[in-house]
Symmetry: none
Subunit: 214 residues, 4 copies
DNA sequence: AATGAATGAGCTTTCATTCAT
DNA sequence: TATGAATGAAAGCTCATTCAT
């Protein structure tokens, strides 16, 4: 999404702010009421604005939802890249940093996850949702694959394929998110983290000495 | 749901068959059009019946959806218990059988998964959906936990907790399902299976000798 | 328009009646409020029925309007053909009968004319309206042309072309209708009739002896 | 409408120009999209100006439409009077000049006629439109009546009433315009002119010798 | 004078639900 | 039981109008 950048007129900035405000309201509504029960009125009043405001800025509900999904994806992407930027150079450390990111409160938050799952629930019937999700997933899989590959080649691991590791790690995160959504009572962030690290420690013992578990 | 059982009158059986027919139609519709876009008209015409039929048998759309979710859950449960029944006595074999079941075509089918995710997408906003899902999940987690515990105690595994293994395995399945939904093009059942088994082999090498990988 | 015919079920007949009832209500509304100001609510309450009834029977407002225009055209057509059927065999008498028909109260009624002009007002921007109107007009022009031709050939008229007569007669009627619409106060049916007959008498004196003017 | 005249300030002239620009845009829009589908946004963007401009200059859409109809009427009136001014003194020539004017390309133009018919389509439901149209029509009828009367009295015509001639001529023009609107493909200006002149020649043979037909 | 963001009333349309048949 | 016509609430969307800039 076009974030407010330097060469925008004041009006364009205000407009962009409004759009973001409406997307934020949309996210809140979807989280609270579900995608199917979120009306444009809900979004407008959540934003404290009038009825017709959404169509003024997004033309249609459909478009609003697409832009909302795009925003979620870009938001996650920014976090992902920031994490990668801030991580050490060693592949093992980078991989661990990424996995931890997925479970940090700002990401693994039931309210946010509810929105992701709301969109995933429509993926099969709305091809454009699928495309957005698939594109980003491919990107992350590629990055994780490279890291796993680097780790494997720098250690003495037999019978381990980088692709398999990537499959496990990606799926693990998604599955943990689902358990956070469905079983919020029993979900523990520490246990989830443990699930991830236990796997990494088990397959890459050279790179993840047990004492670093905290 | 009450399957047609011995002590039902002919009329009750017919009624039950109609209900099932409508639930099947509902599943097809949700898979094709999404939960939010599925109307009672859609369901009725998918079933080849008339407009008012759903309210006649389910009283409300809300109820139909709940019964559909319950059916999905019971259907999965039956498969789960059947798998357990048919598996050998050794915990390791039982666990592997369960994990393989989750990836077999009848279960890991994009059309069916789309319906599961459609409901999961509403879990946060429809507490009764959550309760249904959580109840069953708890049951399966308990069973897997027991199996993992039995394996651990029957081998020489240090530093492995049954709960962690359970967390990983449950999440792995869910995550693989999501990747099947989002990335149908690149999803490979064999690779998914590999992801699961590679984990089991890594943490329980005593119980899963490598030659049994196929 | 499918008029209620012999091989219809009772339901189909009732449905057809409803459609006609709604078309009648539409005509009344357009006549009273104008095409642009006629809402589906107006039509429904004019028919004494509920809000959603129009879309139930016509799917869209657009379709309702098209069906209404078609009905008007078919209604006029039926009157036209009936007049032709009931007229004597002589071309001159037939032609006169047709022209008189156009000015009889049931046809040249300001309420009905208002509806015709409402549609004509959209002819350029709604090509399908134009097509409907043009098709019928062509038909009538053809019939009038044949009659004029027969008259000319059976008399001693020099310098008169059947096509020109047709052009005049068709236009005359339309123009008289407009004056009925715009100047209801000064419009006199007798004067309008006089305008038409004076033309016929002037160009076909052999066929229209003056004493038959009434 | 008050055309820019001598004793206007520069500001008033600019204002008047804007109003005219908007009326012109309105006419184009009505011609293209129809009266009912023309929005103030359409008008503004057709004029290359901003959303709120119409209300600034005309206060309301209703007023804009009334001013547009008035402009059309005044525009036609100016043409009418100019034609009368430029015509010879003889009534027969004057009358013919007027009738020819109605069919000249600048007047009998499908785009312009579409606008006239759009307003006529609302005449019954918008009394103020009717009043505007009726007022001008009365004026022209009066003028034509006088000319017809003069012709009749200066010739040896029995059984012809000036009023009837007026009725025919006025109606003829309107009807020809409608055929131009509805049947643009088959409409021929020459044939339309022929329809008018053939009538004049038939009833006023003394005044319209056949050789003057061009 | 001109802009265009914002409003909110009112439209068409959809659809769960009811009910006479 | 089953049908499908009818209802009416509520949705998305449009647009004339207002108003701060």
């Amino acid at each position: 999404m076009a974030a407010a950048s330097a060469n925008m007129t004041r009006r364009e900035i205000a407009k962009e702010r409004r759009r973001q405000q409406l997307i934020d309201a949309t996210i809140k509504c979807i989280s609270n009421k579900g995608l199917g029960s979120t009306t444009l009125s809900d979004v407008a009043s959540e934003a404290g604005l009038s009825q017709g405001i959404v169509n003024l800025h997004f033309n249609s509900k459909d478009n609003l939802l697409h832009e909302t999904l795009k925003f979620l994806a870009e938001d996650y992407d920014a976090e992902f890249m920031r994490t990668l930027d801030g991580a050490p150079d060693e592949p093992a450390a980078r991989l661990l940093a990424l996995m931890k990111m997925d479970l940090k409160p700002a990401i693994c938050d039931r309210r946010k996850l509810a929105v992701w799952f709301a969109f995933w629930g429509e993926v099969k019937s709305v091809p454009t949702y699928q495309k957005i999700c698939a594109t980003y997933d491919d990107k992350y899989d590629g990055i994780v694959l490279d890291l796993a590959d680097a780790i494997i080649r720098s250690g003495s691991y037999a019978n381990i394929e980088a692709q398999t590791v990537t499959d496990v790690l990606s799926s693990l995160t998604d599955g943990l998110w689902l358990s956070c959504l469905i079983n919020p009572k029993s979900f523990r962030r520490a246990a989830a983290l443990n699930a991830v690290t236990s796997y990494l420690y088990a397959i890459f013992p050279d790179h993840y000495p047990l004492e670093s578990q905290h």
